[in-house]
Structures are given as C-alpha cells and as structure tokens.
C-alpha cells in the first residue's frame, strides 16, 4: 500500500504514513526485536521493520538499496545517483543542509544519518522530534558489509542484506588473497587536484590500495585526507599514480603529472584512472573499483618485468 502511496505527492501521504506508524506502534508496542547498534554506538530499536526510510547521504542511499530496502526509501539527498532509481525519490536538500520541513513532511520511520557529514544541530532537532536516527560511517571493508547487514536488520530485509554483505566480503577477500602479498608498488592515490589531496592508510581508499599490494606513499600521514603539493609527490616518487577526477572519464588530473618526465610513475607510464564513483563511496560498488585498482597496479608490476 505504501509503495503505491510513494508515487503520490503532498502532505496527505505523510499524514497517512504518520497515522499508520502510530497505529502500528499501538498494536505492536511489545515487539522490540529490531535493534541495531549504529556508528555512534547507540542502540536503535524499532517496533517494526522500517517502512519509510530517509537516507541523508548518497552513500547511505546506496547501502540501503544494497541491503534490499530500496523500495522503502522515501527521501534522499542530492547526488543520490546510484542505483538510478534512487534519482526518482524525493530529495530533502543536501547532506550538509537538510530541508527538515520536507523531511518531516515525508514522515519517515527511520532516518539514516551520516556521523560526520550531517549537521549535528539539525540531527538533534530530528531526534528531538522523536525520529529514530541510525548514524552510519563505514570506514573499512568489513564495516561496509556490516553496515549493509545492520540496515537490512532494521528494514526487515535480512536475506537480501546478508547475501549482499557476504558477496562483498567474499569478493574483497578474494582480491586480498590474490593481490595483497605481491610485490609492493609505491602508489599515490589522488583524491582531488586543487588543492592536491591524497589519502592515508586509515582511509578506506588507502585500505584498498593496501589490499591490492600497493604501498601508499602518503600512508603514514596524520590526516585522513592530507593536503599536498607537487613537490611532496615528486619527493615521494610513486611508481604509480591513480586518480579519479571530475566526472567518470576525465583524465585531466593525470595529464598534469606528465610535465615531470623523471617521476617514476610518468617514466613507467603508470598514470591510471579509476572512476571515482566506484572507489570513493563506502558501498558495494567499492568491490568493482578495487578490482580495477588492483588490475592497474598489476599492470605496473608487469611493466617492471618488461623493462
């Protein structure tokens, strides 16, 4: 019934949704079985499987869909572009600035927040209004799988969630088994160009570089996303440079490095592009991005033998 109501617009939907949850609250108040601990170590319990979910970051949207709860998502934020059907869901602003009124109007019974990405004050307001908020921020491969399972638990889609999580775990484990022990490739992963930014080993992308057998040249940086300059990169002299770029096929960031022919990565022609959407979000698509990244580093190893 409510998947149908999703398609209508206006307040009635929200009011009905709220009324519905109130009714179900009354009837099944004893059922406290759906609990999960979020990434702020709070236990969130629902009386019922979440039926109207609001996801307040593009990553949360993707994870919720991966957990099999896509049909229950009623609100997303801008840049929630994957899976494509998420683009048809009502937007409630950006993750940094949420239109609380629009969000409340959609009467969600579960809000998936982003620990450091959403403004704390707005989230406090939501909680004060009695909305259950489940904060997530997966920072490791295992955390991605675990988050999918927890979301599935709250949304009542455990079978799908378990399957997605184990597929992801197995895929990443296979990549690790295959590549992590190979000859280390000194690697620079470029997150952004102006200002120039890399990642540390703590960062999820840094972890992917490691499991592919890469040696992140800025891995021991104190900051998760260290800000760098060309000089630092020249001094570190990585054997491979991997960059995303703006858009999915834009190699501009890499051509920048060609002005330094003595840089090992340039000399060996190891400037590689990995689509940012596949690697910069902590979602199951990371497996695809990791696969590409591992293959690129493997190419770099092959070139060593050739020369």
């Amino acid at each position: 019934m409510f998947t149908l109501a999703n398609k209508t617009h206006g307040l009635i939907r929200g009011a009905l949704g709220l009324a519905f949850s109130l009714i179900t609250l009354g009837v099944q108040a004893h059922d406290h079985s759906r609990c999960a601990v979020d990434d702020r170590d709070r236990e969130v319990c629902l009386h019922n499987a979440a039926n109207r979910i609001a996801t307040l970051s593009p990553g949360a949207t993707e994870l919720t869909y991966a957990a099999g709860a896509g049909d229950q998502v009623v609100a997303v934020v801008s840049y929630s572009d994957y899976p494509p059907e998420a683009q048809d869901v009502a937007s409630v602003g950006s993750h940094t600035r949420i239109d609380l009124e629009a969000l409340v109007g959609l009467a969600p019974d579960l809000v998936i927040g982003w620990v450091t990405g959403n403004p704390a004050e707005q989230m406090e307001t939501l909680e004060a209004l009695g909305m259950p908020v489940f904060y997530i921020e997966p920072r490791s491969v295992e955390a991605v799988a675990d988050t999918i399972e927890r979301l599935a638990r709250l949304a009542g889609t455990e079978p799908t969630g378990r399957q997605a999580a184990s597929e992801f775990r197995d895929g990443m484990a296979a990549l690790t088994a295959r590549y992590s022990e190979r000859d280390p490739v000194p690697t620079f992963y470029q997150v952004w160009d102006e200002p120039l930014m890399g990642v540390s080993d703590e960062h999820l992308i840094g972890q992917v570089v490691q499991l592919c057998g890469g040696d992140n040249v800025f891995g021991d940086q104190h900051r998760l996303v260290p800000r760098l300059d060309d000089e630092a990169v020249l001094a570190a002299n990585p054997e491979a440079i991997i960059a995303g770029g703006m858009g999915e096929e834009n190699r501009d960031w890499l051509t920048h490095w060609e002005q330094y022919p003595n840089l090992a990565a340039v000399a060996a022609d190891n400037l590689y592009f990995v689509p940012p959407s596949l690697i910069q979000r902590p979602t199951p698509r990371l497996m695809e991005g990791a696969q590409i990244l591992c293959e690129k580093l493997e190419q770099a190893r092959q070139k060593r033998g050739a020369s």
Binding site: G93, S94, R97, E101, A102, V104, E121, E124, A128, L224
Partner: protein
C-alpha cells in the same frame, strides 16, 4: 511626545508580526490555510503542528532575535564611533566571535561552550581594537574604525587558516556557518531574551547616547560619564554580536543597513532608533530566512547570502540618493 516614539514602533511591530506569520505559513511543505488555522487554534493534524510549532516557529524566532541583535549592535557601534560605516562585521567583532566559535567547533565541544567561546572571541577583539586604537594618545573614531577594519582583515586570515587545516568532512558545515545560516539554530530563547533585555536596558540610556553622538566632549559637558558609557556600549555590542554569531553564524549587512535606513526614515533619536532596529532587523532576517529556506527548496541557502544580496543594492541606493 511619547506618541512620537510609539507610532513608528507600533507600525514596525505590526510589520514584524506580519513577517512572522508569513514565515510560519510558508515553507517547503505546502500547508493549506485551513491547516494553518487549525494549528493556530491548537488543533490540526500532528504533522502540521510539528511543522509549524516545532520547525518553523523556533527558526523564525531565532531569525528575528539574530536580526534584532545585529541591528542593535550596529546602531550602538555607529553612535560610539559617530560613523555610519561602523558595524560589528566591519569592526572585527563578528570575526573575533567567529574564530571563538570555530575554535570551539574544531575542538569538538558544543552548545554553551561555543557561545562562551564566541563571546570571549568578540570581547578579545573588542579589547584588541580599543587597546590598539587608544595607543599613546586618545583614540579618534577614524583611528578606531581603521584599527577595526585591519583587525577584521586579520581575523579573516585566521579563519581561512582554520578552514585550511580542518578535516575535509567538516568544511561544508563550517563554510555554511561562515556564510550565516539559521538551520543551526536550535532554541530561540537565549538570543530572544537577550534582545528584549538589551532593549529594556538601552531605552533609559537612549538620551545619553543622543548626547554622546555629538562627541565625547560635548557629552561630558552635558553631564554624561563618557568613558564608562563607551566601554559599556562596546561590551554590550560584543555580547549581542557573540549571541547572534553563535546562533546563526556570521551574517553581514544587517548591522550596517538597518540602522542606516531607519535613520533616514525616523531621524536620530536613539530612544526610537534602538528599539526600531530590534524590530526592523528582526523583520528583515525573518523575511530573508524565509526566502533562504524556500527559494530553491529542498536545497537550503545560507541566509547571509540573502541579506547580502538584499543589503548591498539597498545600501548603495541609499548612499547614492543621500549625496
């Protein structure tokens, strides 16, 4: 005599109430007149009540309080320096408060500590500007203004440094905050009570401020204890600025434009101008914030952008016309 004060104030109060009602009626969710009326009567469905009473009302009240505080702080600084260019933004008070608040945010503390830190920042900025401008001789308004402008530029650099050094995921929030944004506002009562208290305390001082506006010597000759009054104004302006900045980030132009416009319309009696600033500044920010949250909803604009976009052309027009 008293009517001369109450007539314009009554009119401004009516406009303020109208702006508040408008702001309660308009939002990204469409509520019908019937629904609104039901809410006013204490009925209506739970959702409409939540929207109006728990989301729109506190935000509108916060906007009103912040606008009023900034306009009154601006008017006070202008009397103090006898210069219509002075406002907390130009004089580095906002910058000092912003640094205090940003430092608290970076340190990961919240709530009251952010306000306290912002007030210390504003006060430190105050002492710095007054102390430096005083130098070896007495301070003149132009020297004070110049010192304030330079200190404000210094704060700008420190803010940029803090932004450059802060973790990337904090940047969007901090930037929004620096642009001035009311979606951070939680409870409207601290700034609102401060605004009311300030107005009640300033009304009896209004005549002294009128005399002070004619210069410190003239004021002293007419029986005003100039130095304590000047320090009192500066500290009060710091407090008002800090309260406004912690509620809604740094919002420019309200403190400059509102007192200036009201002076052109109502003359220079501070007993009238100060409460009028509280009402008109509040009204302006309520309207600007309503625009900010509805113009491209569900995306939310920072309200500081709207006040600047409204304030700059208005101010330039007034300046051009008053030549």
């Amino acid at each position: 005599m008293v009517a001369r004060l109450w007539q314009p104030l009554g009119l401004l109060a009516l406009i303020a109430v109208a702006a508040m009602l408008f702001s309660l009626a308009v939002g990204s969710a469409q509520l019908s007149a019937a629904q609104l009326w039901a809410v006013v009567q204490g009925q209506g469905d739970a959702l409409a009540r939540t929207m109006v009473i728990e989301l729109r009302l506190p935000r509108a009240l916060s906007a009103f309080a912040v606008g009023g505080l900034l306009a009154v702080a601006g008017a006070l600084m202008q009397v103090l320096l006898r210069n219509p260019l002075a406002d907390p933004y130009v004089l580095g008070l906002s910058g000092g408060a912003s640094i205090g608040a940003l430092a608290a945010m970076l340190a990961g503390v919240g709530g009251v500590l952010i306000s306290g830190s912002a007030f210390l920042g504003a006060l430190f900025s105050t002492f710095l500007v007054f102390g430096l401008a005083h130098g070896s001789g007495g301070w003149t308004p132009s020297r004070l203004l110049l010192t304030g402008v330079v200190v404000a530029a210094g704060w700008g650099a420190v803010i940029t440094l803090m932004l450059a050094l802060s973790p990337a995921e904090r940047l969007p929030g901090m930037l929004y905050w620096l642009m001035g944004d009311l979606s951070y506002a939680r409870t409207p009562w601290p700034p609102l009570l401060l605004l009311i208290a300030t107005c009640v305390l300033l009304i009896p001082l209004g005549r002294s401020l009128n005399v002070l506006a004619r210069g410190p010597q003239q004021a002293a000759a007419l029986g005003v204890d100039v130095r304590p009054l000047e320090w009192g104004i500066y500290i009060a302006a710091s407090l008002l600025t800090a309260a406004a900045v912690t509620t809604a980030g740094s919002i420019g132009f309200v403190g400059l434009v509102v007192p200036h416009m009201l002076r052109l319309l109502l003359g220079n009696d501070q007993r009238l101008i100060l409460p009028a600033c509280a009402l008109a500044g509040g009204t302006l920010l309520v309207l600007a914030d309503t625009l900010a949250r509805t113009m491209i909803a569900p995306e939310q604009l920072p309200v500081g952008v709207i006040t600047a976009l409204l304030g700059v052309p208005t101010f330039l027009f007034l300046l051009y016309r008053s030549r």
